[in-house]
């Protein structure tokens, strides 16, 4: 590992040897954001709890916004302003993992099993909505140099408002766990604390905090989880790579930048629509389930029936791979208005077919299901780091492959197309190899049955002795 890093560092220094003042390191891409951010999030969450992790994350973003605002308003030399802007982004990039990596933990802590997926998908959908908003707002709001602080100035009070709201509203957990699995996790945590107290381990909390990082590393040996992890990373990374390189993919085929921009807009909009469709399907299924339970004698079981995550994963992966193939196949079309519309439509279809997988809610909840009784944020951390690494590698490889002459690049049988087909095929194949492993649902069902049948309305079931 150290040797690899040394070689990469040497290569990077060679690349930038002629640059007197700039270093751009691929290694930093991972080191700055995914890995340390994930480790920090795991440690803070295990040591101080979910609420503290979210609040520290919000505070880091408020600090980030304040420093960025200062970079364009303070009467400093320009390069000092740039340094401040850069430092602010470092803080923001690392700090955001403190809350983004905890999305499934928040949903599992607060929402009943029937609403966990919806809460995660809706939260992650809002990230895309924020991108859409600022893409429209920024060019409209800033037209002169002195107006640049308009982009930064209002972020400071906005983040402070979120931080204050978090202090007032956020709580560690509800009075009673919203699901059987949440009750079990809470009981396990209490039992560990009691065990440490009995053992008189003064540094117990610190030790167990780091054990969350160890659990994340241990997940790398969980074959089924790693299959899910790699499948998702390959497919979503490929779509992200295509979105990143839409200009290079389309331009050699005669399409202008406007077509590339329209294709990306179509992909983004359709991706959001895909998540909306997924949310609607989830809520419709839950309504049907609730109706059937309410109509059953005695109220019916309160435990969640397991969703067929594997079927969903395979289905959405197949759709995603199909969308990628369709997009690459349509890109070499001509430049007549009809062909151009078809190219843009193909990218829109890619967004529609891949949006649910890109959103991440399905994969994250699936991972939480199969890695139970580990806290859900552990698997999300591994997914985040792996996804960043795979996506970054795909962009680098794809960029290299697209540097072929334009005439060759526009044909479907190029190395780039082959690379895309390889990644998409591998991702889909891995998804097909997934085995149903619904530990969380199984544990909930088993516990319900142990308590003389499924828990029913009005009955309280204690899991303090699990």
């Amino acid at each position: 590992m150290g040797s690899c890093l040394s070689r990469a560092s040497l290569r990077y220094r060679t690349l930038t040897a002629n640059s007197p003042c700039v270093r751009v390191s691929a290694l930093q891409a991972w080191n700055i954001y995914s890995a340390p951010g994930a480790v920090l999030a795991l440690w803070v969450t295990a040591r101080f709890g979910l609420r503290a992790s979210l609040l520290v994350g919000f505070a880091s973003q408020a600090l980030c916004a304040l420093m960025a605002h200062g970079s364009v308003t303070l009467p400093w030399p320009p390069h000092n302003g740039f340094a401040l802007l850069y430092a602010s982004q470092l803080i923001g990039a690392v700090g955001q993992a403190l809350y983004l990596n905890n999305v499934t933990l928040l949903a599992g802590t607060w929402f009943p099993s029937s609403e966990r997926d919806i809460a995660v998908a809706a939260s992650l959908l809002c990230v895309a909505l924020g991108s859409v908003f600022i893409s429209v707002y920024a060019p409209w709001a800033v037209k002169e140099p002195d107006e640049l602080n308009r982009l930064f100035g209002w972020q400071v009070p906005a983040w402070l408002a979120i931080l204050v709201a978090g202090l007032l509203v956020l709580r560690e957990q509800p009075p009673h766990p919203p699901s059987v699995s949440a009750a079990m996790l809470r009981a396990n945590a209490a039992r560990r604390r009691a065990s440490r107290s009995r053992a008189g381990d003064g540094d117990g909390d610190g030790t167990s905090s780091w054990s969350a990082v160890g659990q994340a590393l241990a997940l790398c040996g969980h074959v089924n989880f790693m299959v899910l992890n790699m499948s998702s990373a390959l497919l979503t990374g490929l779509v992200m790579m295509l979105a990143t390189m839409v200009g290079q993919v389309l331009a050699p085929c005669g399409h202008g930048n406007d077509v590339a921009g329209s294709a990306l807009a179509a992909l983004s909009a359709a991706s959001g629509a895909s998540v909306g469709l997924y949310l609607w399907l989830l809520s419709r299924n839950e309504r049907r389930r609730d109706a059937s339970l309410a109509s059953s004698p005695g109220g019916g079981p309160a435990v969640s029936s397991s969703r067929s995550y594997v079927a969903h994963q395979v289905g959405w992966s197949a759709l995603c791979a199909g969308g990628i193939a369709l997009t690459l196949g349509a890109s070499p079309l001509g430049t007549t208005p009809g062909d151009t519309a078809a190219v843009i439509a193909a990218w829109g279809v890619l967004g529609l077919l891949s949006g649910t997988l890109l959103n991440g809610a399905l994969t994250m909840e699936h991972a939480a299901e199969m890695t139970f009784p580990l806290p859900a944020n552990v698997s999300v951390s591994v997914l985040a780091v792996t996804g960043s690494a795979i996506s970054f590698a795909q962009v680098i490889i794809g960029t290299h492959l697209l540097q072929a002459p334009a005439v060759l690049a526009c044909k479907s049988a190029t190395g780039f197309a082959g690379f895309c087909a390889l990644c998409a095929g591998a991702g889909l194949l891995l998804a097909c190899l997934l085995k149903p492993e619904y530990r969380r649902a199984r544990a909930e069902t088993a516990q319900g049955e142990d308590e003389e049948g499924s828990p029913r309305g009005g009955e309280r079931v204690s899991y303090g002795t699990l």
């Binding site: 007197p20 364009v72 802007l85 920024a138 002459p405 029913r456």
Partner: protein, 136 residues
């Protein structure tokens, strides 16, 4: 920290009249608290995306301008295009409008396939020299 380990099934599943009014109020309070958690979290998600899309573009452009040709090619692939904010940012940071124009003129080379792509990256970084303002 509340260490209750009791799972209370949702009220909707309870037989009519099986739960006291106090439990209903408790359920309502938990529902409101649940909504509050999600509302704050969602607001943070929106603001995070906004931050990405502003600061990251500025960093990407600022770094790309000073890159070696090889790195310029890589970075130019990753810089969001058609953003007037860029030129404004460069003027604000006084790093050379001519360089901005050069970058803006990076178009698709039909021979070399080098072109900017309309997508930002947040992870580009500057050198220690630039970060500390001792070079350039």
């Amino acid at each position: 920290m509340d260490d209750s380990h009791e799972y209370v099934p949702p009220l909707a599943y309870a037989p009519p009249g099986a739960r006291p009014a106090r439990a209903e109020l408790e359920t309502l309070a938990v529902s409101r608290a649940r909504f509050g958690q999600l509302a704050v979290y969602v607001a943070a998600c929106v603001m995070t995306a906004i931050n990405w899309n502003i600061v990251v573009r500025l960093l990407a452009v600022l770094v790309a301008m000073h890159s070696t040709p090889a790195l310029t090619r890589l970075l130019a692939l990753l810089v969001w295009e058609k953003a007037p904010v860029y030129a404004i940012a460069e003027a604000r940071f006084d790093v050379g409008v001519q360089q901005v124009n050069s970058l803006s003129n990076v178009r698709v080379s039909r021979r070399t396939m080098r072109v900017r792509a309309p997508r930002p990256v947040w992870w580009v970084a500057a050198s220690p020299e630039q970060a500390f303002g001792t070079a350039h």
